[in-house]
Amino acid sequence: MLEQIFNNQIILGAVQAAIAAVLALSFMLLARWQEIHLENETIVALLRGLIQIVLVGSVLVLLLQGPDWTSIFILAAMMVAAATIAARRAQGIPGAFRVSFYGITLGSGTVIILMTGLGVIDYRISSLIPVGSMLIANSMNTNGLALDRFRGEVEAHVGQIEAGLSLGAAPTQVVTPFVRTAVRASMIPRIDSLRSLGIVWIPGLMAGMVLAGSDPIYAAIYQFVVIAMIFASSGLTSLISTLLIRRQAFTAAEQLILRPSQE
């Protein structure tokens, strides 16, 4: 219906974005009615998301016409940005950015390099950047979930952790159960993605490929390939980040740093 009213694609997009934003804001009002205050966070996130994606879209138009080797720098910049955002989920943990950066870079980077080397991901910039960004973004989300859950688990089990330390246990050992919980919890969305693939969720990549004229069966299979790669890179990220963050939760003298409140 909107397409018939607006002939210009940019104006059409702006109207669609406005309608979607109203929908998102109506949820915010619903939450406010229940005294769940997400106003500032929601408005800032919506504006930021819109501006970022439009800017990136504009930049991509230029970048995707550049030489393929520039992908390395673009993906590296995405990894740094992802680590910065993910580290905010772990505020209060020293070295959260470093841990997130290693986790996301090693997790998504390994999968990107391996799968590009094997020819599963096309090395051309027009393919590598969109697929790589999906892997990095999902690794970032998983990293944030893992660190947030780890911190929550540690803060909820301070007594048990200090009881373990008091019995002469190594810090890494006393928090191992919470590392496992954090990794498991952070992977729930990824497992659900795989489970629901095609049944309750037809992802954008597949839809885009079909719209661009690809064989629907190939598009479906490639979508599975991407989701499986996301699963691998997210899992690797979660594991690396939580293993690295274990040590960060303690001082050099093996004292617990993460506590709900100091004394």
């Binding site: 009881a163 330390l165 246990a169 190594a170 001082t251 003298a253 093996e254 004394e263």
Partner: protein
């Protein structure tokens, strides 16, 4: 400092704090405490709520870091001892038992296992007998009463054969009956094993029942040290 004079059999104190302090933000939780504890001493640390008793105790096994001063364990500055080794030697029983999920036996084995020792079944039986819980080896820790759980916590700490035992309000989470029963157990174990013991309590009567000496702390500062009766009635 001239403290703990009842145990002069040992020339050197087993535990000595020198100007021990901990400041968080602008708040002095522990303020310049110097204290000597001799082997076999049973010392209550008393004071009002928030006086810094538990903060002081937590510095003794380095669960928290002093911002000034240090602790000497048998003459060695404890900063030269690997923290986990220090905590084996200066064992701590906390206010709540904080047992690990699993069986009672698994909890008792936890400490020794950290240094690669596997306690034999007979040793577990002996430890549980000592705390009056013979036959509890296979019990799930989720199915213990408060008093039973605190006894397991004590046995778990004793399994490390610590040189010094720190008890942080060990009965405050228990009902009256369980409190008396844990107190009796503590008295029995302390006297049988000639343990060096520091007990934090807000309850002066309990201090008198358990300890021979007492340290009064107020606003993080050591106010007085002496025989428990003197401190209570001062």
């Amino acid at each position: 400092m001239e403290h703990d004079q009842q145990n002069k059999g040992d020339v050197h104190p087993i535990l000595r704090t020198v100007n021990l302090s901990r400041e968080v933000g602008n708040k002095k939780l522990v303020d310049n405490i110097s204290l000597e504890v001799f082997r076999g001493a049973v010392m209550a640390i008393v004071g009002s709520s928030g006086a810094g008793k538990s903060s002081f105790l937590r510095l003794l096994n380095r669960l928290d870091e002093p911002t000034n001063g240090t602790v000497y364990l048998q003459g060695a500055d404890y900063r030269t001892i690997l923290p986990r080794k220090l905590r084996e030697r200066v064992g701590m029983v906390m206010q709540a038992p904080y047992l690990f999920p699993g069986s009672v036996a698994e909890n008792i084995r936890f400490g020794p296992r950290q240094r690669g020792e596997v306690l034999a079944d007979e040793q577990i039986e002996q430890l549980l007998d000592r705390v009056g819980l013979g036959g509890y080896e296979d019990r799930d820790t989720n199915h213990l009463s408060g008093g039973e759980a605190q006894r397991v916590s004590l046995a778990r700490t004793l399994a490390n054969s610590p040189d010094v035992l720190l008890l942080d309000e060990p009965t405050s989470a228990l009902d009256d009956v369980a409190e008396r029963s844990v107190e009796e157990l503590l008295l029995q174990i302390i006297s049988e094993e000639n343990l060096t013991c520091l007990i934090v309590t807000h309850d002066m009567a309990q201090a008198a029942r358990l300890a021979k000496q007492a340290v009064l702390i107020d606003s993080g500062r050591l106010v007085r040290v002496g025989a428990v009766e003197e401190i209570i009635h001062a």
